[in-house]
């Protein structure tokens, strides 16, 4: 039986997608400034006149932020926002056109004779979403 994580309906997936998009970008924007020692959660709290724990809750996903709160966070992080709705794309990521060369590569790999295992050195920048999903799909079908 597939895991429950694959059974979320489209409405729920939309919420997960949007919340991840917003919170992920807020976290990255905060981390970017924090790394430069330009900002702390306490600074953000002072700027917005809220407690530091409120900032932590917003950045960690512990609160379901209103549009006003999101706007406050974006403003306090000195960022701007771009938002648009698009037509949905109905295809599995692993079968997306950009994944086809990777799928063919994975298929070719499966046909090669067994080679000694490579040294365990994961790539630094790995387009894992497309490639790992594609490989996983091919392996499951093999």
């Amino acid at each position: 039986m597939p895991s429950s994580r694959h059974r979320a309906n489209a409405r729920r997936r939309m919420f997960l997608k949007l919340s991840q998009l917003i919170e992920g970008q807020l976290r990255d924007a905060y981390a970017e400034k924090h790394e430069l020692s330009a900002l702390t959660q306490a600074d953000l709290a002072r700027k917005l006149n809220v407690g530091r724990s409120a900032i932590h809750r917003r950045l960690s996903g512990a609160s379901n932020m209103t549009i006003e709160t999101i706007a406050d966070m974006i403003w306090a992080l000195e960022k701007d926002v771009e938002f648009r709705l698009v037509e949905p794309v109905h295809y599995e990521r692993a079968f997306a056109p950009e994944a086809q060369p990777l799928l063919q590569f994975a298929e070719a790999l499966l046909q090669l004779p067994a080679a000694p295992p490579p040294a365990p050195s994961p790539p630094q920048h790995f387009s894992g979403n497309t490639l790992s999903n594609a490989l996983q799909t091919v392996l499951e079908g093999a």
């Binding site: 895991s3 991840q20 998009l21 512990a62 609160s63 365990p120 994961p122 630094q124």
Partner: protein
């Protein structure tokens, strides 16, 4: 001694698949132990609205945390913490009100073996659940002969600072 690739081939580990709602590309590697998702499915509190935080179930938070670990360019994503003793190389990730235990088989990568709810970890029932979970990770590594894949070191070994 086995490698991560061999463990995947033997179905001991499974490569984490990003859900279709995650629009970012993966930057980091992530695997889960073969029983992880069973444990995830079988814990009703992870899927109960009574335990929801920020409009999401704890299970959904775990999924989002995994995605963030994989896709965020910033290391703090996922709140990765090393467990003591440091020499064991066991790490935990902190999603909302849960903890995911595993190890790092290389820079910017993680293997999730087991999980626990924060309330269970804090419960005083005579047994330290942190120790139990840590032992579970170490047993998993030993049982599948994956000792050579354990990356030792602190957070700078897992997320090397940019040069």
């Amino acid at each position: 001694m086995a490698t991560i690739d061999q463990a995947v081939t033997q179905l001991v580990l499974e490569a984490h698949r990003l859900p279709d709602w995650e629009v970012r590309e993966a930057l980091h590697l992530f695997w889960v132990g073969k029983h992880f998702w069973d444990e995830f499915d079988d814990e009703p509190r992870l899927h109960s609205k009574n335990y929801a935080v920020g409009g999401r179930t704890l299970g959904e938070h775990i999924e989002q945390t995994f995605c963030d670990f994989r896709c965020s360019p910033r290391p703090p994503a996922g709140e990765l913490r090393r467990m003591t003793p440091n020499s064991d190389g066991v790490w935990k990730i902190h999603p909302q009100r849960t903890r995911v235990f595993g190890w790092c088989p290389g820079p910017r990568s993680f293997v999730a073996v087991t999980l626990a709810l924060e309330e269970d970890l804090k419960a005083k029932n005579g047994q330290n659940l942190y120790d139990v979970k840590q032992r579970e990770v170490l047993d998993f590594i030993a049982r599948h002969r994956l000792e050579s894949t354990v990356l030792r070191g602190d957070i700078n070994a897992i997320f090397p600072p940019p040069r």
